[in-house]
Symmetry: C2
Subunit: 593 residues, 2 copies
């Protein structure tokens, strides 16, 4: 790959990138490109306004979480992002998603439209994960959207965690239903009565089912696309095992798959660990988790959870088998099965966007990008003949076919009337990982000019000889993936501070870090830390914090599996100054989504 990063080659490259199509200069054929672009953008705005008047996109208008006015980026392109990630993260996130064609706001608050580009990411995750779990013997199925009140409320701790957020159907047409019916917030209570019916003997174990569906949790907190939505897409796996060991093994297998979805598909680093008692799944035995980190806000984010439910639900729902290992007097004794549940949602997409994208728009990791490579014809001027232009277009299409043949998802942008600069902006906004430029110069030299989305300007430019195109492009896409991951991983590591003095806690928290501290793992102590760090944040700054630097306290994110040295059992104290207990583990705390 070193040849592609050859400085001398890249420095000789023309910079055809034009931040603003209105600044487009003479070289290109279409004098009217800027006008057309401006007109198109204006039309779009008018249309959007019209739609808003009809009530569409209303929630978009309401969306801002911060009270401060939008911070505009000076000279930002008309079609591009006009607030910066650093200064107004909530608006930036909104713009990256909507202008990057990933998502649209919807007229039912808290619900969002997943446009094809983001749904493609989800489909890629689905295919990858289906392949892994099917190899584990998991089978997909489909349980109903609805759950009766009786069944929903059978497990008390569990339902307490969801009760306030359950959406209730009370009417069909104008007819009131005899009994109101809930929309599932998750499917434990939907499925487990049937596990009790289906599991007749230890031969039926393990029972491993999964479903891809949507669930509804009618949260009253401020909704945020992908991260906190009232309906969201996910998969939920529900399995039953004869032994705790079998259940425990699977919990970790699944967690590992979740980690790899982040690492290998989304180029997002995560920390694997266990949730504390306070943060575990309501009604479960223990919860394992992969935790991510959003550098722009310094907040942790739960990426996916794999729960061992123990025998709690099997006792509530009467899921038993005859113990095959019971001997003598115990023969015929029944055994409550061990259960797991595990879920990964479209939140994955939000995490990916927040981490990688920049002030030019979306940045998609190559493995989940619907379009991995966009080929743009360049160097067409007023003096170019129709034949020459036709030849360049034809060459572009042929290059696209060659790349498609080796599995690279490639498109060409042969739109007339738009300048290369306009097109460059457009595809950057949509996060296409790699742009290939091809014109008379490239044709003559037998190469193609490549521009990486993840490295702006000349540093991200290189040339690829045409005869190595079909090997070099896939390699370059892999390099982009690895570099995206490394940058995010470096940031996460820099902001994961291991501390042993309480006085460091809140200042470091306020500097966008998550903190590894010796902790007693009790709920009471967690509550204290949350309170202490929340108050301190306000004192420090002297002003009320807005959504960008929340005054919320820190909570425990996870007990990382990878434990540093330094805790001497029976000696090391819990870091919380108000706590008198001994430390059990290094526990990761942080502000969190």
């Amino acid at each position: 790959m070193s040849s592609q990063n050859d400085e001398s080659a890249t420095q000789a490259l023309p910079d055809r990138t034009q931040q603003n199509p209105a600044e487009d200069k003479g070289e290109e054929v279409s004098k009217n490109a800027a006008k057309k672009a401006a007109k198109a953008a204006k039309l779009a705005e008018q249309k959007a306004d019209k739609a808003k008047n009809k009530g569409i996109g209303k929630s978009e208008a309401k969306m801002p979480t911060s009270k401060t006015p939008k911070k505009k980026i000076d000279g930002a392109a008309l079609i591009g992002i006009d607030v910066s990630k650093e200064e107004d993260f909530p608006h930036w996130y909104q713009q990256v998603l909507t202008k990057g064609d990933m998502l649209d706001y919807y007229d039912v608050s808290g619900c969002f439209i997943l446009k094809p580009a983001s749904y493609f990411v989800w489909e890629t995750i689905q295919n990858w994960f289906n392949d892994k779990i099917k190899k584990m013997g998991v089978r997909n199925c489909s349980f109903p959207l609805f759950v009766s009140e009786d069944v929903l409320q059978r497990e008390k701790d569990h339902i307490e965690g969801f009760a306030a957020e359950v959406a209730w159907v009370t009417h069909a047409g104008s007819t009131p239903l005899e009994r109101k019916i809930a929309i599932r917030p998750t499917s434990e209570t939907v499925m487990y009565p049937y596990y009790a019916k289906w599991i007749r003997s230890h031969r039926d174990l393990p029972l491993k089912l999964n479903q891809w569906n949507s669930v509804v949790r009618w949260e009253f907190k401020h909704p945020q696309p992908f991260l906190r939505t009232r309906e969201f897409l996910w998969q939920e796996g529900h399995t039953a095992h004869l032994t705790e060991e079998s259940a425990a093994e699977e919990v970790l297998q699944i967690l590992d798959h979740y980690a790899h979805v982040y690492e290998d598909l989304l180029a997002v680093p995560v920390v694997r660990g266990k949730k504390t008692e306070k943060e575990k799944f309501a009604g479960g035995y223990y919860t394992t988790t992969v935790e991510g980190y959003i550098p722009a806000t310094g907040r942790g984010i739960q990426g996916g959870t794999s729960h061992c439910l123990g025998q709690n639900f099997s006792k509530m729902f009467g899921i038993t088998v005859e113990d095959p290992n019971a001997k003598g007097e115990d023969k015929g004794a029944s055994l409550y099965v061990w259960q797991n549940s595990w879920g990964l949602s479209t939140r994955t997409i939000g995490v990916m966007v927040m981490i990688h994208s920049d002030n030019r728009g979306l940045v998609l990791p190559p493995r989940v990008a619907e379009i991995q490579t966009i080929i743009v014809p360049v160097g067409i001027t007023k003096n170019t003949t129709d034949e020459e232009r036709a030849q360049i277009y034809k060459d572009c299409s042929e290059l696209a076919s060659k790349l498609a043949a080796v599995g690279v998802r490639t498109e060409t942008d042969l739109r007339d009337g738009y300048s290369p600069g306009y097109k460059f902006n457009d595809w950057e906004l949509r996060g296409v990982p790699l742009r290939l430029e091809f014109g008379p110069g490239e044709a003559k030299g037998g190469f193609i000019t490549a521009s990486r989305r993840d490295i702006p300007g000349k540093d991200g430019k290189t040339t690829i000889p045409l005869n190595s195109l079909t090997t070099a492009v896939p390699e370059l896409l892999d390099t982009i993936h690895n570099d995206l991951y490394k940058r995010a991983d470096d940031q996460f590591r820099e902001h994961r501070k291991q501390i042993t003095k309480w006085d460091d806690f809140t200042p470091l928290l306020n500097q966008k870090n998550v903190l590894l501290i010796p902790h007693c793992l009790t709920e009471e102590c967690e509550d204290q830390i949350k309170e202490l760090s929340a108050r301190k944040a306000e004192e420090d700054s002297g002003v009320a914090q807005d959504a960008r630097a929340p005054s919320m306290g820190a909570k425990s994110l996870c007990i990382p599996f990878e434990q540093p040295e330094g805790i001497e059992h029976g000696v090391t104290k819990c870091l919380n100054p108000q706590c008198t207990r001994l430390a059990e583990k290094w526990c990761m705390f942080g502000r969190s989504y």
Copy 2:
């Protein structure tokens, strides 16, 4: 393939099939198999009873549509189907689905659980169809489950078709919502406000989106698994085009894909055609359809519909572009886009089951069977040594690996303590298309014994030399598919009667036929035919009809694209004796689901 159907070979085969495990004789090692099977069945029954007491499976108890007692099949296996398809179709269908492990009843009426075997069929359809539509430029996406009252009601004709069946959410937790929110019965009104926003110019056309989701139609008629359910899974495609031609072309492409899902995956014949004005999609321009036929009841069934919506919705929702072809004075004139919508649901699975399955249980067409081939070890007796048994098991596993390597979905059934007869019954019940038996005799002879699920007894048996296993089995699976299709197609053709005398209409209808008649295509006339054929049915039989031979009148199923000769325009009369109009087309009428 002819060698496999060699009579002399099949006649020499042992018949190891045992209808009732309790009748299992000495040959097999497990003397206790029958007892165990009986015990397992009893336990299962007790468990089911227990579950019912908890309210689970209640709707199953309520399910029967006919008032007559179940007709038991004499000598039916304990675990098998105990009513016959011919005598008690509704109970038979219920048993085939539940005992075949395809589906379970759910404690919210009208909702059902799709177990892995049926969900696999759906996944296979999804993969196949996704491949086809992606090649057409359709992209998948996800719109919300919820739709506001305002938006839902914007298109009057459309909503009239669904209003009585819309489920309404009115509360979240114990908090009443400000405005009640509907669960989508279909997504036209959910999506089209956004089409108005997104489609800015003719360059954005065609816009082709699809989603895989579930919709809710709270029907008050008697629910039937897969055929009439309050929640069902489907795909819904929604596209926008610049011209009627472009829309019309796509309507037929999609209809063709639907036909091929039935024909090529489910081995189900369908008739392609157009719906009459009376039966078309509410609010649409015209509807095309694939229509199937259920021989056991003689009823037609709508298999999937592809609608051209015309410009009706685009006018309601203001989806316009500037006409790119307008010249002179018309320049700048705006144009309402042409729209299509098309949907295929899990109803497909019900049709497939009703057509192919028999009194031994489910019959799955090979291309959608999760397990295509089950390998069962045979010929193990009291005198078989442990080593010999281990060798046979090992051979079975190796054969399975070989088949898996060529893409045949293969499992082995090496359960101890169950006789081959018991296993045969079990896999037949689950519809596995091909059973392979392997024992000492087969090992010695270098062959494997194959039993087709679709041809019972010795006629379906053949032997396959081990050295041609990996080519012969895929070929045999294709043969099974083709034979299943041909049998169903023959039946459909036999029961599709072209008639020109009204007096033949109701008698032939009562003989489980669908009828091709010269028809005027008016709604008034259809209503008359429905009334005439309903009344006549009761008169003919003298007693009220039950669900198996419904007294419902005939309705128009479709105007087949393939029109027979015989209608002379301006001369041929509509067949309805009360109608004075001229016939326009041959129209297919029938009782229908």
